[in-house]
Symmetry: C2
Subunit: 363 residues, 2 copies
Amino acid sequence: MSYSLIDAEYLRLWTSAIFEKAGFLKPNADLAADVLIKADLRGIDSHGVARLGGYLRLIEKQRINPRPEIKVVRQTATTATLDADKAIGLISAPAAMKIAIEKAKEFGSGWVAIKNSNHFGIAAYHAMMALEEDMIGFAVTNASPLVTPALGAERMLGTNPICFAIPAGSEPAFVLDMATSAASNGKLEIAERTGKQIPEGWLTTATGNASQNPSELKNGGMLLTLGSDMAHSSYKGYGLSAVVDIMSGVLSGANFGPWVPPFVAFLNPVENQPGEGIGHFVGAWRVDGFRDVAEFKNSMDLWIQRFRQTKPLNTEQPVQIPGDFEREEEMRRKQSGIPLVKSVYENLQSIALEFNLPLNAAQ
Amino acid sequence: MSYSLIDAEYLRLWTSAIFEKAGFLKPNADLAADVLIKADLRGIDSHGVARLGGYLRLIEKQRINPRPEIKVVRQTATTATLDADKAIGLISAPAAMKIAIEKAKEFGSGWVAIKNSNHFGIAAYHAMMALEEDMIGFAVTNASPLVTPALGAERMLGTNPICFAIPAGSEPAFVLDMATSAASNGKLEIAERTGKQIPEGWLTTATGNASQNPSELKNGGMLLTLGSDMAHSSYKGYGLSAVVDIMSGVLSGANFGPWVPPFVAFLNPVENQPGEGIGHFVGAWRVDGFRDVAEFKNSMDLWIQRFRQTKPLNTEQPVQIPGDFEREEEMRRKQSGIPLVKSVYENLQSIALEFNLPLNAAQ
C-alpha cells in the first residue's frame, strides 16, 4: 500500500488553521489539532486527521459548535458535571480533565462527567494529562452504537473505550487505552482497506450470523464485545462497555445506549433522545494521596521491569507493557513523519482546496 | 451430582460462631460470615463457605490475623491507605468501604487502598455497600498468580476482579462483578468436579500449550486473560488485570504480580516480597455529585429496561443486565437453602468436629 508521509509539526499547524477557519478560537483550534496529531503519532490512525472531514461536516450541520461555552452545571469538592454546549470532545474532555486535576490537587481526587459533547478523540490524550502531575488518569466515553450486548443481535453500545494512565519513575508510564469491543473499528477499516478477512469473533451480520467479512459492518453488522462469545465471557466485555455507557451517558445527562447520536453527518440522531449529545467521564487520583510518590514510582518501575521479563510464549515476541506500542510508534513517526493512506490524503487535499490552505506531503 | 441443602441463616450463624472460635471478635465474625454467605446465596460458590477451611489454616499459620488493628496510614480529604494488619479482606474491605463512603458524603467521592490484607471474598459485597447511600461503588483486588499476561507463559497475575455497583430506581441495581481472566477459577472447579472438558481459550499447560483439561491448572497450567488470544484482544484482559494489580498492590504498598502471596496455607509466600500482604482498592462516587438522584435513577431504569429489550440472538435467551443472575439466585437460595457439594459439605463437617459445633443439613 502506498502512503504519503507528512511531518507531524507541519500537519498540526495546518490542522489547527483548518479548525480556525471552521470557526474555532485559536487556543481551541491548537488543542483540537494537538489531540488529532497525537492520535496519528501514536499509530491510532482511525482517530487522527482521518476524522477531520467528518468533524467539518458536523460543524456545518451545527451538530458540533465551534464556539462553545462549556459550563459547570453541578459540582461538589471532587465531582462536577459539565455541559459542553455541543463542543467536540477534543476540547471538552481536556477542559474537564483540567478541572478534575485541580480538584485532585486540593482534595486527593477529582471526577468530571460531561454531557452535550461530541467525538472524544483518543482517550489516552485526556488521561495522560494526569501524568505530569503525578496522578493516575482515567478517561472513558460512550459512542454511537455499533456493538451488540452478549446474547443480543442489535447495535446498542459504542466501542466505548477505557483508558488508565499511570505514572512510573525511570520507566515510561503505563497507558492502557482499549475499546471494550473484541476489535476496534480501526482494525476493521484496516482489514477492509487491505482486502483481508477478519477472525471469527469480531463481527456479525445484521441478523447476528458470524461473519469474517469486514464490510459487513457497513451492511448493518454488529461488533462483538471483548470475549467474543458466551463461552469466552463476552458478557464481561458487555458489562465493561455498559459501565462506560452509564458513567458517560446516564451520570452526566447525555444520551446512552442506542440513543447516542451518530458521528457521521449523513446520519441523523434518533428522535426522542433521553439526553443531550454524547457523554464522557474523566478523573484523576493523586498518587501521594495513597503513597509516597518516590516509593510508588520505584514500585511501578519494578512492576514494569518484572512484567517485561515474563517468560514469553515465543522468544521473538516479548510481553509488552500497555502503552509500549503507541509510545514507540510516536518516537518513530516524530522522526519519519505520519503516513497517510491514499483515501485520507485525498480527503485532506479536498479540505485544503475547500479552505484554500494548501497541504504538501514530504515536508 | 448430589447436594446438601442448608438454610442460609443457619449457615451464617454457624459460620460466625466458627470465626469467633478461631479468634475473631463477634462483630468481625458476623461480618466475615455475612460476606461468605452472601457469596453462597448469589451463586458464587467458589467464594463462599467452601473457603472457610482454607481461611482457618491461614489463621493457624498466622498469615491471617484474627484480631487485626486496621489503621489509616495516610490520607487526604478523599483518599486513604489502610494497613490491614493481616486481616482477612472480608473484614478489611468493608472497613475501607465505610471510610470511602464517609469521604464521599463529605467531598463527593472517596477512595481507599488497602495493604497487608488477605483474601477479599466477593468484590460485589464491598461495592454494593455504596448502593444504599445512592452512590456508585467500585471494588478491585489482586490475588495470587494463576494468569499469564498476553504473549507470556508464566503465572504473573491473579484473576483480579473488577466490580461496579450502580443504583437504579424501580429496577434492581446494576452490579458487574467479573474476573479479568477469560474464565474464573470457579468455572474450572465446576468442570473438574463434573468431569467435563473446558473450551479452548481458558487455560494452557505449564509450558503454554493450549489445553481443554481443567485439571491442568493444578499441574502448573495458566489461566488466560479475557480475550483468550491476541487475535481476540487478550492484551485488553491483560491490561485490565494489570490496572487492578497496580491499583491494589502498587498504590497501597501491598505485593503485586508474581509476588502476591498464595491463598492456600500449604504454599509459602515467595521470599523478598516487595510489599505487604495482598492489596485491594475500593471507592465510591456520590450520584448527586453529578446529577439529581431522582433523574439519574429514572435514566438508569430506562437504560435497564431498554437493554432488557435488546433484540435477542435467540428468543429463548434474552439479554441480561449485569447482576441479574446473582440476584435471582439469591432470591431462590434464600427460599430453598444453599446447595453444598459433597466435598464442601464434608469439609464443613470436619470443621464442625474440630470446633465442636455441629452442623446439620436440611435445617
